[in-house]
């Protein structure tokens, strides 16, 4: 039973709140990884009544994001609000084809990197909140308040991203004509290649395991067998 088959005011409110929740989860609290695209996009899709559509967008975004690891002060896409918006936008396309999925993923990917810029600002603000070490040491309650304030600001940041980008993303996906024939095939081929390229490019980000080429090739062969078995 869909909650909202069509985007309306309440689905916009819900997406905004989910943007906040998934935005805050990535770094600030509690890091249970509802911010990963396969979760956030599924939830976004569910808001529009189609969680499976959301997950398809999330799985594609996940393979694009996997090579960006959060080591130290590295910049990486903020996938929480991005996933919610991409999942909701694709689900709102009414089961559109590969081109609609690609458009939702493009919107999500762009929002992910815009989100990364806002995370940078958030970190600068947090630096100011903790600048006066002596005052905070003299009054630890102030440290506790500032910790909560920083988490609250991060939530607001994610919510604002969700609120701002849902409508443009839904409109962009709905503008895409239903692609048939060569257009549909080209879109599907591009997405299949993008998923493979994203997966392959993640190999280096997973560390330098011995025999990694053989393992990847063995995995691909296993995938081929699986596809053959399911056909």
């Amino acid at each position: 039973m869909p909650w909202h088959a069509e985007p309306d005011f309440w689905s916009w409110v819900l997406v905004s709140l989910l943007g906040g929740l998934t935005g805050v989860d990535a770094v600030s609290w509690p890091q249970v990884m509802v911010s990963r695209p396969i979760v956030s996009a599924t939830i976004g899709g569910a808001v529009m009544g189609r969680p499976a559509a959301g997950l398809l967008a999330g799985a594609l975004l996940e393979l694009l994001a996997l090579r960006h690891q959060p080591f130290g002060a590295a910049r990486y896409p903020d996938t929480g609000p991005a996933g919610v918006v991409a999942g909701a936008a694709y689900a709102a396309s009414g089961g559109g084809g590969a081109a609609a999925l690609a458009t939702a993923a493009v919107m999500g990917w762009a929002l992910g990197w815009i989100g990364a810029r806002t995370v940078h600002v958030q970190r600068a603000v947090s630096g100011h909140l903790l600048a006066d070490v002596e005052v905070l040491a003299a009054e630890p309650r102030r440290l506790e308040r500032r910790q909560r304030l920083a988490v609250g600001l991060d939530f607001a940041r994610g919510a604002l991203l969700g609120a701002t980008f849902l409508v443009p993303a839904v409109l962009a996906v709905r503008l895409v004509p239903a692609a048939h024939g060569a257009g549909g095939a080209a879109a599907a081929a591009a997405l299949a290649a993008a998923a493979g390229a994203g997966a392959g490019a993640s190999v280096g980000a997973l560390g330098r395991a011995r025999g990694r080429w053989w393992l990847l090739a063995a995995g691909a062969a296993l995938g081929g067998l699986t596809v053959w078995g399911l056909a």
């Binding site: 493979g196 997966a199 395991a209 090739a217």
Partner: protein, 245 residues
């Protein structure tokens, strides 16, 4: 005074927000101190000067993997409880900072998280329902996550200064190596099965799977170039809809 179970429980819950005030100046120091406060209140009860000095000490720059912050919290609280000399606590903090960051990144971000994510994507591309796939990621991932936090706090408190030996002998590095091998196997499988699913119905059988496998091989060979191109390919997919019939 020795902290009680309730103090440890409060500290553990607070470590969930260890990166709440992450910043480029002191990194996770704010979150670390925030988590330490319930323990420091108990340890330095009745000695406001020692308490204040401890808070000030822990607000100095510190960075570690967020899931291993409880290990640091436990070990640092133990040192405070044993009234270690401040200079020694600071040197210990510095040593802990780099080693916990490297081990955590290697185990959690590079190995455990991709393993659970890829397992869920594989499940989905093989026909698992959306919520089942999401739970296939969230439940095992967070079982490992919470276990690591609880283990870290307990072992940190019991080991104190010997926490480095605990990390070295815990098998975490070996576990990360095995998980990475499994990740690579899963990555190859998912590249083919998800590509096949994305091409389902729009392309002849096997075309999507073959495109996925070929692109994965290219991506593994030239990660910088092909990795960046993956996003460009999605843009191409979006524009393909405008190809006239």
């Amino acid at each position: 005074m020795r902290p009680g179970r309730r103090d440890f429980a409060r500290a553990l819950v607070r470590t969930l927000g260890a990166q709440g005030t992450w910043n480029y100046r002191s990194y996770t120091a704010g979150g670390l101190t925030y988590a330490l406060l319930p323990l420091l209140h108990r340890i330095h009860a009745g000695d406001p000067v020692a308490f204040r000095a401890a808070v000030e000490r822990h607000l100095r720059p510190f960075n570690a993997h967020p899931y291993l912050i409880p290990l640091a919290v436990g070990a640092l609280a133990r040192l405070e409880h044993e009234r270690e000399e401040p200079g020694r606590i600071e040197r210990f903090r510095t040593a802990l900072s780099s080693s916990l960051g490297a081990v955590g990144d290697r185990l959690v971000w590079q190995a455990w998280r991709p393993f659970c994510l890829l397992l869920a994507i594989l499940g989905f591309s093989l026909g698992l329902g959306p919520w089942a796939a999401v739970l296939l990621f969230l439940i095992p991932y967070n079982a490992g996550h919470v276990t690591l936090r609880v283990w870290g706090l307990r072992r940190g408190w019991s080991a104190g200064l010997r926490v480095g030996a605990v990390v070295s002998g815990s098998g975490l590095r070996r576990m990360a190596r095995w998980l990475t091998a499994a990740d690579l196997l899963l990555l190859g499988t998912v590249a083919v099965t998800l590509a096949d699913r994305l091409a389902d119905g729009a392309l002849p059988a096997w075309t999507g799977a073959a495109a996925g496998a070929a692109a994965a091989a290219a991506g593994a060979s030239w990660p910088g170039l092909v990795g960046a191109s993956a996003a460009a390919l999605v843009v191409v997919g979006a524009l393909a809809a405008w190809i006239p019939r």
